[in-house]
């Protein structure tokens, strides 16, 4: 490019500055437009996600008259907590809440331990049949639980430790035992995913850590417990949280194993049968809100862990 053309370009630039005040230069304008479009998109999507919560909240606060009032759309004219108290009573909320909390914590804790151990075994030891076991892990993810629902139900209904106990077996349904067994052996809900997460996480940890421990005379088990486990705490927290949340929300397994118990998913579902009349949906909405409230609280406190989960576990890298 010769000097002349450079000069002309410079001149043009200066002209642009002359004609447009600093804030509405064309390139800036384009930028602003983009920012606005992006903001509209993001706010719109967020609105769609939050919308059900808002609908639930507004209809749960409505009294019967508001429900029939055509002019009431969003904000109830006579807000009251009747629906909440009714849902609270009919869901047997205190008992069900404690039971659910116990169940979800227990399941989360057991799955966290078992999936970590299995994930470590798959990540660090090259043994015969390793790839078969890993394939089995993936298979448990891919096969829909509906397929083994009935045999599982029957196995726990007439539980004989697979023929080891004599007689017709014990009825383990309506107790925590089915969940304990499946969680302890890392075949509970979505456990394949957790094993995969832990495996990826341990694979990304430096091997030198364990080698140093081995040189100091540690056995693989002490190396795992003392050296690897403390470093894996972020991943452990993530597995626990996901497991807790999925167990809390789960209706499928809870319905099979604990259909006669006072746990939140069952009592929430039973609202549909118990409550009659025009208030049904409002009470159900109040119940749903009370159902997700603990999770929302947990999420608000530990949001960072959820959002950064996949980054932290190195699932992608």
């Amino acid at each position: 490019m010769n000097k002349k053309s450079i000069n002309s370009v410079n001149k043009e630039f200066k002209n642009i500055h002359k004609f447009y005040p600093l804030s509405i230069r064309p390139d800036r304008l384009k930028n602003y437009l983009y920012v606005i479009i992006r903001a509209v998109l993001i706010i719109g999507i967020c609105y769609i996600i939050i919308f059900p919560l808002l609908v639930k909240l507004s209809s749960a606060l409505m009294s019967l008259t508001d429900f029939y009032d055509q002019t009431v759309m969003w904000i109830p004219r006579n807000p009251n907590l009747n629906n909440f108290t009714r849902a609270f009573r009919d869901m047997e909320y205190p008992v069900a809440f404690v039971n659910s909390l116990l169940l979800a914590s227990l399941v989360g804790f057991l799955q966290m331990i078992s999936c970590t151990v299995v994930g470590y075994g798959l990540a660090r030891f090259k043994f015969r049949g390793q790839s078969i076991i890993f394939a089995a892990v993936i298979l448990t993810l891919v096969i829909p639980p509906q397929m083994i629902m009935i045999p599982l139900y029957l196995n726990f209904r007439y539980f004989t430790f697979f023929g080891l106990l004599p007689g017709e077996g014990i009825n383990l349904l309506n107790s925590f035992w089915p969940f304990v067994f499946t969680s302890l052996t890392a075949v509970g809900m979505k456990n394949g995913l957790f094993i995969y997460i832990m495996r990826q996480f341990f694979r990304n940890m430096p091997r030198q850590l364990e080698e140093a421990a081995y040189i100091d005379g540690a056995s693989p088990i002490t190396a795992f417990l003392r050296v690897m486990l403390p470093g894996a705490i972020p991943a452990l927290v993530i597995v626990f949280l996901f497991s807790f949340v999925w167990q809390w929300n789960d209706y499928f397994y809870t319905n099979i194993f604990m259909s006669g118990n006072t746990v939140l998913p069952m009592t929430l579902a039973s609202l549909r049968r118990i409550i009659e009349g025009p208030q049904t949906t409002a009470v159900i909405n109040a119940g749903s809100l009370m159902f997700v409230a603990p999770l929302l609280l947990l999420y608000a406190l530990l949001q960072r862990y959820f959002v950064e989960s996949i980054n932290r576990t190195g699932l992608v890298g």
């Binding site: 470590y120 509906q146 599982l152 998913p265």
Partner: protein, 300 residues
């Protein structure tokens, strides 16, 4: 270090033993709580289950259950087709949407943390019982309808607008279908967005800088840098979405299978149905994986 005793192993044997030791919980669980039930359900699918006072009894009836599911039951084949069709639609829409959303959320803007938190909210709320209670919840549906009708961008108006643009027939139907299901698509793509987001953050910024120095536009650097580097994750996400869709309890076919099991044609037919379903989906997965993995680009 010498250890007296009968147990003396080479290093390789030791590694083998520890490998089995660590994976033992899963091996036990897989055999007893997974493989055994799967085999049982294969047996069930070939027999009639009779509940007796002592437990249950099986009567072998060969292919009758499969025959019933495929040729006699009027709903099954139709629902299977619809479910598979819906799955393909959903997977395409969810993958595109989650890639788009991840690119949006990866940019710098005020309130990014809050937006990410909200985008991920469906994992907490959009599954399980709460979603189940929304189905057939009359007030939710009414409110949704009224919202949709009162807004400027009501669905019908948008659909009408789309009719005016002369899109090809098939594409038009697809776009309108997505438009009507946008809520569901957004609610189902939370995990996929997270996966893409993590992938985006692992792309070195120096690549973009180099591209900008060479004069690439944002559009070009998306297709030449972002897209190829994310392609392994596209595969991951497609597989995740297929599996998620096909095991989700809101799925029509899963509901049909459930209905048949409890109070319909019986356990045998229900397991036969789930087997056919599983085989269909496995075939689709294999085809999809082999198609996509041909075009996937690996950095190393």
């Amino acid at each position: 270090m010498k250890r007296p005793g009968i147990f003396k192993f080479t290093l390789k044997q030791k590694i083998n033993i520890y490998g089995y030791l660590f994976t033992l919980p899963f091996i036990i669980g897989f055999i007893f709580f997974f493989l055994y039930p799967v085999i049982q359900s294969i047996v069930f699918s070939f027999s009639r289950l009779i509940i007796t006072r002592e437990g249950y009894r099986l009567e072998f009836i060969a292919w009758q259950n499969y025959n019933f599911a495929l040729f006699i039951n009027p709903e099954y084949i139709r629902t299977l087709g619809e479910t598979v069709g819906g799955m393909i639609n959903n997977v395409v829409a969810i993958t595109i949407f989650s890639l788009f959303a991840a690119v949006l959320l990866n940019q710098q803007f005020r309130g990014r943390m809050l937006a990410r938190a909200i985008f991920f909210l469906p994992v907490i709320m959009g599954s399980g019982v709460v979603l189940m209670m929304e189905q057939g919840n009359y007030s939710m549906q009414l409110l949704r309808e009224s919202q949709a009708a009162s807004g400027i961008f009501s669905r019908d108006i948008l659909a009408g607008l789309l009719m005016q643009i002369r899109l090809p027939q098939g594409m038009l139907v697809y776009v309108i279908d997505i438009l009507f299901n946008i809520t569901r698509i957004i609610n189902r793509s939370a995990i996929q967005i997270l996966i893409f987001l993590a992938g985006l953050q692992s792309i070195p910024p120096s690549l973009y800088e180099a591209a900008r120095v060479e004069g690439a536009t944002g559009w070009e650097s998306f297709w030449k840098i972002t897209f190829p580097l994310l392609s392994p994750l596209i595969l991951t996400n497609v597989v995740y979405t297929v599996v998620d869709f096909f095991t989700s309890p809101e799925n029509q076919l899963v509901q049909l299978i459930r209905r048949e099991a409890f109070g319909g044609a019986g356990y045998g037919v229900s397991t036969a149905m789930s087997f056919i379903y599983f085989i269909t989906v496995s075939l689709i997965l294999i085809i999809v994986i082999s198609l996509i993995s041909r075009t996937v680009f690996y950095q190393d």
